[in-house]
């Protein structure tokens, strides 16, 4: 075999693996799209069809019924609003407070720094399930309603995460900028928000995106703290416990439609900010 043909064989093998990989990643989502365009009769067809087909004529037949159903489903519409409020508020709060901590951890000199770094790092791995009953008790005792309690408790994972990732980014900024601003008579806090913070804008976008995704997808706290307040449920809780409009069976067509709608904002973020998201994901785990 000449080296040119060998190269071509390698290329073909590479593309075969790429295609298999792409199908594996995408297929469950394709199946959800396919099912979301089926009526209940089509969903009950055996064997299942790879595109929506009419049970009688076997011709391709789409329906928008599931989408109409979920958009007239009050619980689902309220969940969109709830999820948006919770995810955006958590992201903003975590970014503001986390950037304070990140700046201190990454750029300032103070006693006890190693200890605080250890605490923040261990907090990024703090298991939510370990404090579930404790938080539940605090929330019921204080009588905090569900939406604010979600915003507060989501800081458990989002705040240490933003602080940790931003620490890594602040560390990379040259210390000279910080020092020369100080020599020019700027107070350290002025240096922070007038010079350093703008420089970390890309890092803030990255961390903000990941925090938003985390809060949008969170399930354990949402399920627990909205158990007595159904109108505060977020999208994951509504989708996992979907209330049916029509039938007593599990309404898979509607669930798929609702699931697709609630994933679309995330897909947009992923395709627009792919590089930033990858950078942030790996920074959280790899950078020390």
């Amino acid at each position: 075999m000449t080296s040119a043909t060998k190269h071509r064989v390698n290329r073909i093998l590479l593309w075969i693996v790429i295609v298999i990989m792409a199908i594996w990643m995408i297929f469950p989502f394709y199946w959800a799209v396919n099912s979301s365009f089926k009526t209940e009769a089509q969903l009950a067809m055996t064997p299942a069809t790879f595109v929506p087909r009419s049970p009688l004529t076997n011709e391709v037949a789409f329906t928008w019924r599931n989408y109409e159903a979920v958009f007239s489903n009050e619980a689902f519409l309220r969940a969109i609003v709830n999820s948006t409020i919770v995810a955006i508020t958590v992201t903003l709060v975590a970014l503001i407070i986390g950037s304070f901590a990140g700046f201190a951890l990454g750029k300032l000199r103070y006693r006890g720094k190693t200890g605080t770094l250890y605490i923040i790092l261990s907090m990024t791995m703090f298991p939510a399930i370990a404090v579930l009953s404790g938080l539940y008790a605090v929330i019921t005792t204080l009588g905090i309603s569900a939406i604010p309690s979600l915003i507060i408790t989501y800081l458990l994972f989002s705040l240490p995460f933003t602080a940790w990732v931003l620490t890594a980014f602040f560390k990379e900024l040259p210390t000279e900028i910080f020092q020369s601003a100080q020599v020019d008579g700027a107070s350290p806090f002025q240096t922070f928000y007038m010079i350093m913070l703008p420089l970390t804008a890309p890092a803030l976008v990255t961390t903000g995106l990941l925090t938003f995704v985390g809060a949008w997808n969170e399930y354990l706290f949402a399920l627990t703290f909205t158990s007595v307040q159904p109108d505060a449920r977020t999208l994951p809780v509504v989708i996992a416990n979907f209330p049916s409009q029509f039938s007593k069976q599990i309404p898979f067509g509607e669930i798929m439609a609702a699931g697709i709608i609630s994933s679309i904002p995330l897909f947009l973020l992923v395709f627009i900010f792919q590089r930033r998201i990858v950078a942030g994901l790996t920074a959280g785990a790899v950078k020390g």
């Binding site: 590479l14 201190a104 951890l105 370990a130 404790g134 809780v237 790996t282």
Partner: protein, 359 residues
Amino acid sequence: MAKKKEFSSDLAKQEQRLAYWLLAPTFLIMLAIAIYPLLSVFYSSFTNATFASSKPTEFVGLQNYQQLLSMTIVSVPPVLDEATGKAKIDADTGEIEYQSAVRVLPREPMRYKPVTQFNLFGTQYVLGATDPDFIRSIWDTIVFAVSTVFLELVLGMLVALIVNANFKGRGFMRALILVPWVIPTAVSSQIWAYMLQPNRTGFFNTVLWYLGLGSGEIAFLSNPALQLPSMIMIDVWKTTPFMALLLLAGLQLIPGDIYEAADVDGAGPIRSFFQLTLPLLVGTITVALVFRTLDALRVFDLFQIVLGQARYSMASFTYYQLIQNRAMGYSSASSVVIFVVLSVFAIVYMRSLGVKSND
């Protein structure tokens, strides 16, 4: 000179004060939503606290832990044939018939229920526990964590090598592999639950039936032998991309010219992977493994949504004790057990990462 020194130490003091002020909000919030609740969980794990109950809360010592973790192994005698006095053989299966496990397990002071039976050197044993659900959830969660993390490492490495190769559309591929990661677990769990339906309305039964495998009625989610493999399959799909990205970050740190050198030396791609790439990735792999293991051990969404109360992970067991049974004390005790298991792994993680305060 003296003035300058004073000035700089003033600055240092000012800097230190600022650092404490900037850290204060984060630490106060963590105190309120992590440390205080954690301490209260520890405390209530020693009580019989129950929600919405008029019964006064009492201190019960280690009783919750005893109830959660007590285990015993007892041998199960065979059923004796009255006529011959020998072990009775089941006519259908040709195997020895054993007595009911419930009868041989102790009932006082606590009642043990069977978790599993096994045969060792010809003797049948039963593993009994006072809370078989919890013991099973620990075992299942560990099996789940070890299998998913191993499979994700192997497949994630393959994915990472591919998206690190040079081809047209690589950027698009890198965005595409983020799809399983970004879909809310609640949504992907429902999609997979639907694909795993126990008849040919489900994707897997349809495909296996087309291929002539299976009856088209495989109960992936209610057959106990298939439940864990199904969970593992779903999680591997969902989390391999994340693993791949961690490994990709490590791959990109390896300078390209060492491969050129290997190429000149005539090392094939497989040899240069095992002899060059893998050793250089050891650090990344260790971090990724422990990071993922910690995540997998606290799996909740997937188990709660797909299996509900048919089979528990440690976390979903804890959730149901709290919300369904309102058993605050008991649920707290199982939280503490999870916390201890995870802390052991977390310490390993911190060690392997080696935190540095100054570079």
